[in-house]
């Protein structure tokens, strides 16, 4: 499902080169649940961005559901994301000008699919029935993140990427969000890639990769 080979990302800032992801290779089977952990600045977000095709690696390659990302154009990768990938962000990143319902509809509407019913259903699923027409500013942090989850699942993604989805939430709310993700992973068979600091959350994943200084220092599957 997700495979990366000798993935390296180097930033050159002010003449000095900084390699933040160093020669990383691993594979994740369909329906897998991977947690990437590591100290701050170890390259977790960078790696996630590369895996999701949001950025181009300096060298190495990523294969997502059979598609080699490096070979795809910017627009082709956008389409791939629209069809097969979901995202959850630390800062929720709901579109402030859209209601909860509309936020959930966006990924499907992008592909020209009327999505009202499915969006309503998904919102109910994350426990937000009745809040469809509220704007993000009218929702609490935990509620916003649940809307983001509903949005992430609305296009039935093959892979869901989440960067510290609980980072801005208290422990209990964070746990509900991750539980929800686990449920969806089980029910829909969605592959999950989760970046987190939190060892508790990481414990719920079936596999854990630990990064330090851009390198894999431990992999529970190895």
């Amino acid at each position: 499902m997700l495979h990366c080979e000798s993935l390296t990302k180097t930033y050159g800032s002010g003449g000095r080169e900084l390699t933040v992801v160093k020669n990383i290779s691993f594979s994740l089977e369909a329906g897998g649940f991977l947690a990437i952990v590591g100290p701050s600045g170890s390259g977790k977000t960078t790696l996630l961005g590369l895996l999701a095709g949001l950025d181009r690696p300096t060298s190495g390659s990523v294969t997502l559901d059979g598609a080699v990302l490096e070979r795809l154009s910017e627009d082709a990768r956008a389409r791939l994301r629209g069809e097969k990938v979901g995202f959850v962000f630390q800062s929720f990143q709901l579109i402030p000008t859209l209601t909860a319902l509309e936020n959930v509809q966006v990924p499907l509407e992008l592909r020209g699919i009327a999505a009202r019913e499915r969006a309503t259903e998904l919102l109910a699923r994350v426990g937000l029935a009745g809040r469809e027409h509220h704007y993000p500013a009218q929702l609490s942090g935990g509620e916003q993140q649940r809307v983001a989850l509903a949005r992430a699942f609305s296009n039935r993604p093959r892979v869901l990427f989440a960067d510290e989805p609980t980072g801005n939430l208290d422990a209990r709310t964070g746990a509900t969000v991750v539980d929800l993700m686990g449920e969806l992973n089980r029910d829909l068979g969605t592959t999950l890639v989760l970046v987190t600091h939190d060892p508790d959350l990481a414990g719920r994943a079936r596999r854990t990769i630990r990064l330090a200084d851009g390198e894999i220092v431990a992999d529970s599957a190895a």
């Binding site: 949001l54 910017e74 956008a78 995202f87 000008t97």
Partner: protein, 850 residues
């Protein structure tokens, strides 16, 4: 990406920021309003001209001459005028009433026959025109009654005849109001002209015959058939179509120029759109990145915001068109007195269509460049705020979009100007002005930075520092507000300097009363009479009417035919023809006067007796028109007698000085015996005494006419102000646009300022202090814009005065301060109005929201 989604996203996004977006679109509203108003007005004007064409001339054909109609012309009139013939004979004379005071130079028109055949002359009281020929009646311009302190029913003296004033003219078809500005008109029955005994030798008389053709007979073929023959008889033939064409061209030109001023407002609005969009995209960066993560392509995101810009442009334009139509109802009454006919105020659909389309296009094309950066926001930005922008290639579409923008401006200007060259020049002019304004503003900002007032109280420093807030729109606001102020200031300076020049030439100790048409034998008694009344008498200036017979041996007619042919070849209308054929009123003397400056050749000495050819001095511009240089031979026709001359020098003449100035000055010794009249200048301290003197002279020597220079000055001032009023009216739209752009900028930065002020309040600032910071910021912006504008306007005003009007430039400091202060106050008002919320809201409210 599918269009339905683009449309839906554009709508949802727009819905949430409606208030801000509306202000953004309002930037172009004023411009579209101006454009629709002026274009609709011009359309209506032209339509009215077409509808009322026949009444403009009052007849189908007119034949006119400065001389007595020759027998050949009279014979032609008898044949053509069988269905309807009327004559109007016009000459200048002094008029006064027995009861009133003073005397006034008027244009007397003796009317014989049922003129006008088409259209009505409206009088007050009604019907006076119809009664005119019943007896010794006079219908006069209302201004004459005021000038003479007369009333309807009074007896008006013109030469040896007396007339009863039976009415004033309220409205006259085809009357542009310019002619009557210099001399009020007096209409009398034609059969009483002789009774005035004024049409003696030397009087300038224009004779015009009006012809009504049988129904169904076309005027143009007749005019074409007889034109050449009539020219040989010194007569000119005109048709309705020709006078309509002339008026149409003149109105078209007026419309074009005013339209260009309107276009400035629209382009400034475009600038506002560009700047606001720039900020808008920055604020939307998160949304765009998320959309990209969710699978939207760069092009799709771009399309969403272009669609939004187009819809907003449409709303703004439709609003503008509505305002424009409303304004268009006001416009005619603002300049009605200058219009030769009634103008309908029906909305013109073509003008509305063009206005709205132009507005939408400007909104989109100006939004494109900043929107391009929306394409460059990577999905990665959703994951982390600071992405690495350095490694990305530059937007390849930048150049084509910039080109599209420039091409659009030129195309719009060319369309509005009616020809590509003016359009290009205009676009370049705007570009240069905006550039200079931007540089001036930048220099001002830099100098504030350089000499930052570190010792000023905190609120002032904070206000100044806010100009440099990231995502600020200082430049756009300064440009749009400044350009409006610049236009108004330049207009004001041009008007001020023109009128000031007139005022100064009329200064103390200069002559202010002119007597002319004095016959040679009257010079001594008239001078004595003036001196006897206690006023100084200048030396009499002789005036000899003449025409050009030949230049360098070639007869004028041959030269005129040549130039006409050459002009036709180049597809242009012939200039110069008038200079060849007109009547010149020349003088002779051996010295130069104060208003003259030698530019080529040398002045002749005095006292020597000279043979033929006579030394001649020509005015430089007319020499250029005639294609004459120093050393050329010219033969003049002085009342039938040929006088050979050689051009020995060329002069510049300052026409703005009210003195007898001449195109051609002869050396003494050749014209003394020619038929001539004299001009005598004097000075009397006040209007009443000038009127008294004018009246005394007119009563004793009826053929001697005179005018009071102050009266002429007033007329010129009225004329200039009327033209300036129309332009200023259009320029106001630019200032309005500047205000809206400022309001838009205030609204766009609302969140940022809310957060800043919440922070300030949290840190212990009082509401008063927060308000002061806002005040300081907008005062600084207003001053920045108006000072930059005024510097530019002073440059432009100087250039206009120096190169176009050729007068010295004066900078009125008090008015300048008023303008600068006014613009600053406007900026402060808008800024604080938009910032009430900033001051009012509590920090907690704000911090929760953002």
């Amino acid at each position: 990406m599918n269009p339905a989604f683009v449309a839906r996203m554009a709508w949802r996004e727009g819905r949430a920021s409606a208030r801000r977006l509306l202000l953004l679109t309002a930037s172009i509203t004023a411009g579209v309003a101006a454009l629709v108003a002026i274009n609709s007005f011009t359309d209506n004007l032209r339509r009215s001209v077409q509808e009322q064409a026949r009444s403009l001339l009052g007849a189908d054909l007119s034949i006119s001459s400065q001389k007595e109609f020759t027998p050949a012309v009279t014979a032609l009139l008898d044949t053509l005028g069988q269905t309807g013939l009327a004559r109007v004979t016009t000459f200048s004379a002094m008029a006064y009433t027995a009861a009133g005071s003073g005397a006034r130079l008027v244009q007397v028109s003796g009317v014989t026959g049922p003129w006008p055949f088409y259209g009505d002359i409206v009088t007050d009281p009604a019907g006076a025109w119809g009664e005119l020929s019943r007896g010794p009646h006079a219908v006069v311009d209302p201004s004459l009654l005021g000038a003479l302190g007369a009333a309807i029913g009074d007896t008006l003296a013109i030469g040896a005849a007396r007339f009863a004033i039976t009415g004033t003219i309220a409205r006259m078809p085809g009357d542009v109001g310019v002619r009557s500005a210099l001399g009020p008109r007096v209409f009398i029955p034609g059969r009483y002209i002789a009774a005035t005994r004024l049409l003696g030798f030397g009087a300038r008389v224009e004779r015009e015959a009006f012809i009504r053709l049988p129904v169904g007979e076309a005027a143009q073929p007749i005019a074409d058939r007889y034109r050449a023959r009539l020219r040989a008889e010194n007569a000119r033939i005109r048709t309705v179509a020709e006078s309509q064409q002339n008026l149409d061209n003149a109105l078209g030109r007026l419309g074009h120029y005013l339209g260009l001023v309107a276009l400035i407002a629209l382009l400034l609005g475009g600038l506002g759109v560009a700047s606001a969009t720039h900020v808008f995209v920055r604020q939307k960066a998160d949304t765009i990145a998320v959309l990209r993560c969710l699978g939207a392509t760069a092009g799709g995101v771009f399309a969403i915001y272009v669609a939004q810009a187009a819809v907003m442009g449409l709303i703004g334009s439709v609003l503008g068109a509505a305002i424009g139509i409303a304004v268009q109802h006001v416009l005619p009454s603002a300049i009605a007195s200058a219009l030769p006919l009634d103008v309908s105020t029906a909305p013109s659909w073509p003008a509305i269509g063009v206005g709205v389309a132009t507005g939408v296009w400007v909104a989109v094309v100006f939004a494109l460049l900043p929107l391009l950066s929306a394409r460059r926001i990577p999905p990665l930005a959703a994951l982390r705020q600071a992405y690495d922008p350095g490694g990305r290639p530059r937007e390849p579409l930048r150049i084509p979009v910039l080109f599209l923008l420039a091409a659009s401006v030129v195309a719009l200007a060319a369309m509005q100007a009616g020809n590509p060259r003016t359009g290009l020049a205009f676009a370049a002019g705007i570009g240069a002005s905006v550039g200079v304004l931007a540089i001036t503003a930048w220099l001002l900002i830099r100098s504030v930075e350089r000499w930052f007032p570190h010792t000023w109280p905190y609120v002032w420093r904070q206000g100044l520092a806010n100009l440099r807030r990231p995502g600020n729109q200082t430049t756009a606001v300064v440009l749009s507000l400044g350009f409006g102020a610049f236009l108004l200031a330049t207009l004001f300076l041009a008007q001020y300097n023109l009128l000031e020049e007139l005022r100064i030439t009329g200064g103390p100790s200069r002559p202010n009363l002119v007597f002319f048409d004095i016959q040679p034998e009257q010079v001594a008694p008239v001078s004595r009479a003036i001196a006897g009344a206690g006023y100084p008498v200048g030396s009499p200036v002789p005036i000899v009417p003449m025409r050009i017979r030949s230049i360098r041996g070639r007869p004028v007619a041959a030269i005129a035919a040549d130039t006409l042919a050459r002009a036709r070849q180049r597809g242009r209308s012939a200039g110069g023809g008038w200079a060849l054929r007109r009547e010149y009123r020349s003088t002779y003397r051996d010295t130069m006067v104060a208003s003259e400056k030698l530019v080529a050749g040398r002045w002749w000495g005095s006292g020597r007796t000279r043979g033929s050819p006579v030394p001649l001095s020509l005015e430089a511009d007319v020499a250029a028109d005639l294609g004459v240089r120093v050393g050329d031979a010219m033969v003049w026709d002085v009342q039938g007698v040929p006088v050979a001359t050689r051009v020995v020098n060329l002069r510049d003449v300052d026409w703005a000085r009210f003195e007898p100035n001449f195109f051609a000055v002869f050396a003494t010794g050749a014209l003394e015996t020619a038929p001539q009249s004299f001009v005598v200048l004097t000075r009397a301290p006040d209007a009443a005494r000038r009127g008294q003197l004018q009246r005394e002279i007119a009563q004793r020597w009826a053929n001697v006419t005179s005018f009071d220079i102050a009266v002429v000055q007033e007329a010129v001032e009225r004329l200039v102000s009327r033209v300036v009023l129309a332009i200023r009216f259009m320029a106001l739209f630019s200032l309005a646009t500047g205000a809206v752009v400022l309001a838009g900028a205030v609204s766009t930065s609302r969140f940022q300022r809310l957060r800043e002020s919440a922070l300030l309040k949290t840190l212990g600032a009082s509401r008063r202090q927060v308000l002061q910071v806002v005040l300081a910021e907008y005062l600084a912006i207003g001053l920045l814009a108006s000072v930059a504008a005024f510097i530019l306007a002073a440059l432009a005003g100087w250039a206009l005065a120096h190169f176009l009007f050729e007068i010295p430039f004066r900078l009125p400091l008090r008015q300048a301060a008023t303008l600068i202060g006014g613009t600053a106050v406007l900026a402060v008002l808008i800024g604080t109005w938009g910032s009430v919320e900033v001051v009012r809201r509590t920090p907690l409210e704000v911090l929760r929201e953002t």
